[in-house]
Symmetry: C2
């Protein structure tokens, strides 16, 4: 019988934010896959290892998930990654695939999942704490109250957005266009907070758009709320 | 010295989706607060008790958080709740306040947090898995890939929305207007899935707007994705 693959969120970075289920699945299964060529260098591995040290004794599999501009080339890599996982599943092994944050939110596992499901394999997703919930907690800031919508925008420079919808905006993956985005934020009149490298040693917190450096890193997350009295 | 209050998400329902940190904070502290008059009847308590049975021996405090239409009356109740917590904090006790899902996403703890912070108390938020991540995982459905935005709308009937923004819509708290919302969904041409009572025994899954019953319960969560080829 074919094995089953679990797409497991290990949460946003703090190893203590892993779920009991993530910990159990790592302990109970022998094959652990992570994104990255060198499994032990992957962020998801390091988070898991801090809470579940016995992971080091497991069969560790790195799945190369490059960020490339060429969709065709990416898809080829995804096919290779899925094929490597299918080989393990065909052996009858269950595979626990660890991923940063939550496996349904901008997660590279989704690409593998589509292929695996199309090929008839059984995929189960185990949710994790997404980065924006961790960032909001770190900022001590409710993302939304009452009936406020939340808009999570991964690349605001492509949406031609005026940030003028009601509710809260969460801006992710903004690093490469930060100067432009700071201008948008200033024009919006919103209350802006941001976290860079949330939960890591290099963490920085900003309490206005002005404070965010133009060269803020990839793991910067901005919360822009409607101004309240 | 005054104690500190932790606003701790216990996740969406499955006790195994609690974080290691939530478990540790319950174990290490003596005073556990939950929303509801009868602490042991609160959903957050029951989730926590399933993973941390020793919670039953703690000092349990129920904070009444009614859903009322009258904002003034609600605010009065929140003041009373905050006052009860402040009495405990003034004793020098830390308080672990447990809450369903994540404490920054439509969480009644936010109302208490505002009062406690204004009164000079130290609040720390501990993120949890929000309901929409659990629902998406249960549906085996990525909420968003690549650069797709996510719009979380807690009461779509108030937004006069055509559901025509790019990306994925998550509709919450829609139960009281389900017939109307099903019409909106049908007109949008989106791929619709829904979960009612995610993770509970009474859980139901729907794979189109038509399938969702007009009288679906309060804990119904709809994911409406842009149609893909």
């Amino acid at each position: 019988m074919k094995g089953k693959i679990y797409g497991v969120g290990v949460g946003p970075g703090d190893p203590e934010l892993m779920s009991l289920k993530a910990v159990r699945l790592i302990r109970e299964n022998n094959v652990i896959a992570v994104p990255g060529k060198e499994p032990k260098e992957s962020v998801a591995y390091r988070i898991a290892a801090a809470s579940v040290p016995e992971i080091a004794q497991k069969e560790l599999v790195g799945i190369y998930m490059p960020m490339l501009r060429d969709r065709k080339l990416i898809e080829e890599e995804h096919r290779k990654g899925a094929a490597a996982l299918e080989k393990l599943l065909d052996r009858g092994e269950n595979v626990v695939y660890l991923t940063l944050g939550d496996p349904t939110v901008y997660c590279t596992f989704s690409y593998l999942q589509h292929i695996l499901e199309a090929d008839g394999y059984n995929v189960e997703l185990v949710p994790g704490v997404p980065s924006f919930c961790a960032a909001a907690a770190r900022l001590n800031l409710p993302l939304a109250e009452w009936d406020e919508p939340i808009h999570i925008i991964p690349a605001v420079h492509r949406t031609d957005s005026k940030l003028d919808l009601p509710g809260t905006y969460v801006l992710m993956k903004s690093a490469s266009h930060m100067a432009e985005i700071k201008k948008l934020l200033a024009e919006s009149g919103r209350d802006v907070s941001a976290v860079e490298n949330c939960g890591m040693e290099s963490e920085k917190i900003y309490r206005s758009a002005d404070e965010i450096p133009d060269d803020a890193g990839y793991f910067s997350l901005i919360v822009a709320k409607e101004p309240h009295d």
